[in-house]
């Protein structure tokens, strides 16, 4: 809030309720909620930070709210983007029309580490490569939604969307009775439907689907087991699978069972030591060729990651125009490519106003937030940019909208972003909700859970 005109319209109901409930009670409820999270075991490990290997992501009790009209726009924009990204992936792994048309420079594709030459010519069922597209969206004013980045591999966090809602409904049933909040609990069914739709064409009857996890030591293991459970599919580890006769089998108490679709939460590099990193202890020998032979579907497809590469990001609006013949509904954040001389000069001159990111980095690591950095930090970073300009892009520090958040001293505005999870099978589906991440430190723009961000429930109000 923090707006003298009072809360935005969709928040009014909640604002009245907060006033009535009082901060003390809310704080008490938050402790209750955290105790529940801890007991259920919704935890998130952060690599290399030591401390509690299974820690909680802080949960904020105040929901982030979209009006029905706002959601219509976000939803249409996200689906449009998901379709364009998949069309792009099909294209670059076939004829490369977008390169021939001169829209994207060839080297940004073929020289890209995320591009997999072995995928060229492979026909994934339904021509879908990225079956779950997580689009990170921020808002700068009442009208504008901007896309920060796309996540086309295996975007995580959807379990928070589901669990946050569960907790909120458990804590504040009266609030839901009063507000008309669209449900999100259909997500597992929709996901399963999408996965079933991309089963290999030769698969008859109900496809056998499994979720492939690296195992309990993965930071998102909770989510893996939670989703597998809600979908009613097996949660498998690489050791549970093997390839024989070019087909993929699951070891069960009845002996081998044929597998048709794998929702894999293991990175490309590690899925098959015969095809990729030969030192991978996680992989299934021969899995990639079983996939290329069309005997099993991998979701997402190997090589889908190139679509969310930061060097490719700036071309997504062009993709929407090129493949769909539509105007993009969601805009990109203005982005300077340090690889280009003019852009680099501008970036180096304006470091103190910009956010600079590594092209292949993720999770908020290795980035420079100009306004927050010291002069010395900016100087060191400038040297890094000059040494390897291709590896950096820059964006303006956005005047991000804030969302009311409960702190020790009451409500105050904190920066948020939002990730809806678009499902792509035969249809493109979007459950009305997503993951709202909030920067809990006042003024901070970094919402990554690995860097002290928290989460909120996200409400889409029905008409």
């Amino acid at each position: 809030m923090g707006d003298p005109a009072g809360p935005r319209r969709p928040y009014r109901n909640v604002a009245r309720w907060i006033e009535k409930t009082g901060i003390d009670l809310l704080n008490m409820r938050r402790e209750e909620a955290e105790a529940i999270f801890r007991r259920i075991g919704i935890t998130f490990a952060v690599y290399g930070e030591g401390g509690d290997p299974e820690r909680l992501i802080p949960f904020d009790m105040i929901p982030r709210i979209f009006s029905a009209a706002e959601w219509r726009r976000v939803s249409a924009g996200v689906k449009q983007r998901a379709r364009a990204l998949n069309a792009f992936l099909y294209d670059i792994y076939h004829r490369g029309e977008i390169i021939r048309a001169g829209i994207i420079p060839e080297h940004l594709i073929y020289q890209n580490e995320a591009f997999l030459p072995e995928m060229v010519g492979v026909e994934p069922p339904g021509r879908v490569y990225s079956h779950i597209v997580g689009v990170d969206i921020v808002r700068t004013d009442a009208e504008d939604f901007l896309v920060l980045e796309d996540n086309c591999r295996t975007p995580s966090g959807v379990s928070y969307m589901l669990e946050n809602r569960e907790i909120m409904m458990r804590m504040f049933p009266e609030l839901f009775a009063r507000s008309n909040v669209a449900p999100v609990d259909t997500y597992p069914d929709e996901l399963k439907k999408s996965l079933a739709e991309v089963a290999p064409p030769a698969c008859k009857g109900d496809p056998c689907i499994a979720l492939l996890t690296p195992g309990p030591f993965n930071s998102a293991y909770y989510e893996h087991s939670y989703l597998a459970d809600l979908m009613g599919i097996e949660l498998v580890e690489p050791g549970d699978l093997f390839v024989d006769e070019g087909k993929v089998w699951m070891r069960t108490t009845r002996g081998p069972q044929r597998l048709d679709v794998i929702y894999r939460r293991i990175d490309d590099d590690y899925i098959d030591p015969l095809a990729f990193r030969s030192d991978s202890m996680l992989g299934v020998q021969g899995l990639f060729n079983a996939y290329r032979a069309g005997n099993v579907t991998l979701c997402s497809a190997p090589g889908a990651g190139i679509a969310d590469d930061k060097a490719i990001y700036i071309f997504v609006p062009d993709m929407v125009r090129f493949y769909l013949g539509e105007e993009p509904i969601l805009k990109n954040v203005q982005t300077w490519r340090c690889a280009l001389d003019d852009d680099r000069a501008y970036v180096l001159d304006n470091l103190k106003d910009l956010v600079v990111k590594e092209v292949h980095g993720s999770g908020g690591y290795g980035m420079l937030v100009g306004p927050k950095a010291t002069k010395e930090e900016r100087r060191v970073y400038a040297e890094r940019i000059k040494a390897d300009p291709d590896n950096f892009i820059a964006q303006p520090t956005l005047n991000l909208s804030t969302s009311p958040t409960l702190g020790e001293e009451g409500l105050s505005g904190r920066h948020v972003d939002f990730r809806p999870y678009c499902l792509v099978g035969a249809d493109t589906r979007l459950v009305p909700g997503g993951l709202t991440r909030v920067a809990l430190t006042k003024g901070s723009l970094v919402v990554n859970s690995s860097q002290g961000g928290g989460v909120k429930d996200t409400w889409v109000l029905s008409e």
């Binding site: 259920i40 075991g41 195992g215 097996e234 549970d240 699951m250 070891r251 069960t252 108490t253 009845r254």
Partner: protein, 310 residues
């Protein structure tokens, strides 16, 4: 049908829970015996360590201190019979099969699982009783959650098979450590010392009350052995455990429509326990019988793994 790994995790989850409880009861017995008037030269902590398989931590004939027992059997992170190790392994196995467990089963294992992580030996000894009670409460709650809410499918059977095998194993291990005080000829040696030893065996299996009830306070090695091996009613007797094993193997055989080698092994063992009386068992040698039963139980565990591909 389920993943082979799931069956493996459930089987071992139950084994570790059962073992954690057995170790806790062993420590409890040791503590109780140390308080009772009795010959000080018989170091009960030593046999506690032996029964818990912590042979390496015992230095020859030297007496073992309570501190050492607490360190090895309660707090050790790598002794496979320590309470901490068992609780952590049980939870790790549960975590890998969370979706096969009820919410309550999982919460029982997850709640406070890091309790012993940073505890020092002296801290642990200060409230030893509380810690042992905590373990017993965990295992009892888990058992309750299992019986009350778990679907009676093959998962349930694998869980119970692990539990019964571990329990049979524990009873046999205790008999193995203590068999010499149960041999008839030691009765001649007799006296207060043996009475004290016999009680300790029953205490370790929390069977003293039940035994008392059954035999009205008549302690004799013959009867104690009968109780631990052949009682159809005492839930830690070998016969009772094998009865449970066969029940669940039969259920699996029906479920999967196939009988495996493991069924035969369990049947044969049960047949022996049903038809032989104690005299025959003693005749062929108690120690030999115990060693044979330990071997059979190990083999059975392997045969179950083979039959269900885990």
């Amino acid at each position: 049908m389920m993943l082979s790994r799931t069956a493996n995790n459930l089987f071992w989850l139950a084994r570790y829970m059962e073992r954690a409880e057995a170790t806790a009861r062993l420590i409890e017995m040791g503590q109780r015996m140390a308080l009772l008037p009795g010959p000080k030269e018989s170091n009960e902590w030593r046999s506690v360590m032996m029964a818990a398989g912590a042979v390496d931590a015992v230095d020859g004939d030297k007496a073992v201190s309570e501190a050492r027992v607490v360190k090895t059997l309660l707090l050790s992170a790598d002794n496979p019979t320590s309470v901490r190790y068992c609780m952590e392994r049980a939870r790790a196995n549960a975590r890998a099969v969370r979706t096969s467990l009820t919410q309550q089963q999982w919460e029982t294992l997850n709640d406070g699982w890091r309790r012993f992580e940073k505890m020092t030996t002296s801290e642990a000894r200060k409230n030893l009783g509380d810690h042992l009670d905590w373990v017993k409460t965990r295992t009892a709650t888990f058992r309750g959650a299992t019986e009350g809410f778990m679907l009676r499918n093959d998962r349930y059977d694998f869980l119970h098979l692990g539990g019964y095998i571990e329990r049979a194993n524990m009873t046999l291990r205790l008999l193995d450590v203590k068999y010499y005080v149960l041999l008839p000829e030691t009765e001649v040696v007799g006296g207060g010392r043996d009475h004290y030893q016999w009680r300790s065996i029953l205490l370790a299996l929390s069977g003293h009350r039940a035994y008392h009830h059954n035999y009205a306070g008549d302690y004799s090695p013959w009867k104690i052995t009968d109780f631990l091996v052949l009682s159809p009613r005492f839930p830690r007797s070998l016969k009772f455990c094998y009865g449970g094993i066969r029940l669940h193997l039969d259920r699996l055989a029906e479920h999967y429509g196939e009988r495996h080698e493991c069924c035969k092994t369990a049947d044969e063992m049960l047949e022996r326990l049903n038809t032989k009386d104690l005299g025959e068992i003693f005749q062929s040698g108690l120690h030999e019988f115990i060693m044979g039963a330990i071997g059979t139980t190990y083999r059975l565990s392997d045969e179950i793994s083979d039959a269900y591909h885990f």
